[in-house]
């Protein structure tokens, strides 16, 4: 089983991102379970969501305490909360920032990756110019980084979750982030996960 934790702020779409991630992974053949941190959400306040992916039915219904990977929507969150709490050694920590991964300190035990999701989301006019909504971009980036599901699956997850013409813009943003993170050396998804497309 693979457990993923998403850190965002109220309004950034972290909970919707977890749903898109689940639908993308399910499209790829994974069993999935996603849920938000069971709290009271406020705009701007830290929001957490969780996802579980497995190749067999998921029976564990408690919260996620030791994630395999972490996705951070706002680098400022690292100042107020421990985004690596419980993160397993060698897990990916994907951060939305324009800085390179080397600029993220104290993460030696993990695999840091960065993506300028704010820049990409703003380019595709997702959200407002001052507060771009980075959730779909971050899911695309995570697909590229982790290789757990394909960009085609991300697009399916977005189409299932976001109605109307906005879906195409979100897919374009996610796709750009996917390309940046996957890079030319990314092996095909099937080879890495051994599961059906």
């Amino acid at each position: 089983m693979i457990e993923i934790r998403i850190h965002g702020r109220g309004g950034q779409g972290a909970v919707v991102a977890s749903l898109i991630l689940a639908r993308a992974a399910h499209h790829q053949g994974w069993e999935v379970q996603v849920f938000p941190e069971f709290g009271v959400e406020r705009r701007g306040a830290p929001v957490t969501a969780f996802a579980r992916l497995d190749r067999q039915p998921i029976y564990l219904r408690s919260k996620v305490y030791e994630p395999d990977h972490v996705i951070v929507f706002d680098p400022g969150l690292k100042e107020s909360i421990d985004v690596t709490a419980g993160l397993k050694d060698n897990g990916w920590i994907l951060v939305n920032t324009s800085s390179p991964p080397e600029a993220i300190r104290n993460l030696e035990r993990f695999r840091p990756a960065t993506i300028d999701a704010t820049g990409i989301a703003a380019k595709y006019k997702i959200g407002t110019a001052t507060a771009p909504i980075v959730n779909t971009t971050m899911v695309g980036a995570f697909a590229g980084v982790s290789g757990l599901f394909s960009m085609e699956s991300v697009a399916a997850g977005i189409r299932e979750t976001i109605q109307g013409p906005a879906a195409a813009l979100n897919i374009a943003a996610a796709s750009e982030a996917y390309q940046v993170c996957a890079g030319p050396s990314r092996p095909p998804v099937e080879a890495e996960t051994g599961i059906r497309q």
Partner: protein
């Protein structure tokens, strides 16, 4: 029943969305509800679905949960299929009218998202809201997955309409209400095939005027209440037929109880709702260590399937009961009820019953927490009172 051949769609949706889809697919004709966390997304989904299908259903915005149930009672008295959903304080505010709905023999279906009762204010799960409604004459189902929520709401309409008693379908706050997972969505044709339109024997009809809910004298009241009691008891067996009919169409069935590795077990862990899933993993872990344990999930709490439980627990050595609730001044509610049921067995065949209270107000029932109950039971004689596990 004829099998409906069709393509089924699987969607990743939450427990609340599954409940909303079920109420919609069941062709609920009147929906009256007041929003309350953590039920809100259920009603939002249902409002959105019904808004896109004009003429299919009357969605009534009400000023309280008491009014929501009053509207459902009036609608069902006039022959409409009625639905509502609530949680915690909302269910408690309905309490008076829950008695009315069952006494009037109205097959209303209510979804309750289990949430702790205040004070202190707490929006997370426990079962005191619904279990404290156990004497209101409603069938009660506790669900483990979003799929089970969807299937149970649809099944409940059929069971309720056959027996003329209302049903409450219950799911854990957040652990199920806000958790998204794959759900097989039945087609409208399949649901229509399973659930024909409801045609009540008695109904409020302006063309054929009759009075409902009048004074009932000393000579008749007790018999009427006895009828309700019998109808509830009949649900314990009738539900099997409903479940089987659903299985023929979908391949899915649930039973009143569900056993996991209980056959050769001499220790049984009894759970309800989402804790039942996690408890499977605990059973697997103890099995690897050579402990002969199984898990029994209680799906139907009212009527209490005491006969079946006696049959399945006869001769077991230990029964460990997990209560996410408390009857203050007594014990965990399941602990008390199961002990009452097992009294019907000869003493030599009764398991020792160990009761544990945990998970109140959303405290996480992790595998470790459930394991600690089993460890405690294995190392202590059964106590008279439920033991609190922090």
């Amino acid at each position: 029943m004829m099998r409906v051949e069709e393509k089924t769609a699987v969607r990743v949706i939450t427990g609340n969305e599954a409940a909303a889809w079920a109420a919609f697919l069941a062709r609920s004709q009147v929906i009256a509800s007041y929003p309350i966390t953590p039920q809100t997304s259920l009603i939002e989904t249902l409002a959105s679905l019904t808004a896109k299908a004009p003429g299919r259903c009357r969605f009534i915005n009400v000023e309280s949960e008491h009014s929501a149930m009053a509207a459902c009672i009036a609608a069902a008295t006039a022959g409409a299929r009625a639905f509502t959903a609530t949680s915690s304080q909302g269910l408690l505010l309905m309490h008076e009218l829950l008695h009315w709905a069952s006494g009037a023999r109205l097959p209303i279906v209510l979804v309750n998202v289990n949430r702790a009762t205040a004070p202190g204010w707490n929006i997370w799960t426990d079962q005191n809201d619904s279990m404290s409604q156990r004497d209101t004459g409603w069938i009660q189902f506790y669900c483990e997955s979003a799929q089970e929520v969807l299937d149970t709401v649809i099944q409940s309409y059929r069971l309720s309409e056959e027996l003329r008693v209302p049903s409450m379908v219950i799911l854990d706050a957040f652990f199920l209400s806000h958790t998204a997972e794959p759900v097989e969505m039945p087609s409208q044709d399949l649901v229509d095939c399973f659930l024909p339109p409801w045609s009540p024997e008695f109904l409020l009809d302006v063309d054929n005027p009759a009075a409902f809910g009048g004074l009932l004298g000393i000579d008749h009241y007790q018999e009427m209440r006895g009828d309700l009691h019998e109808a509830l008891h009949a649900a314990a067996t009738r539900v099997e037929g409903v479940d089987l009919a659903w299985k023929e169409l979908t391949g899915r069935s649930y039973g009143t109880i569900e056993e996991y590795r209980c056959g050769d077990a001499d220790i049984v862990l009894m759970t309800v709702a989402t804790a039942s899933s996690t408890a499977r993993l605990v059973v697997d872990s103890f099995r690897e260590r050579g402990v002969g344990i199984g898990r029994l999930k209680l799906r139907m709490f009212r009527p209490f399937p005491d006969e079946l439980l006696r049959e399945r627990l006869r001769g077991k050595r230990h029964l460990i009961v997990l209560d996410r609730n408390c009857s203050y001044g007594s014990n965990g509610i399941l602990f008390t009820e199961i002990k009452g049921a097992l009294y019907g067995l000869p003493e030599a065949e009764r398991p020792q019953v160990h009761g544990y209270i945990s998970g109140l107000g959303g405290r996480d029932l992790t595998p470790a927490r459930i394991e600690s109950m089993v460890e405690h039971a294995l190392n202590h004689a059964a106590e008279e009172r439920s033991v609190w596990i922090g």
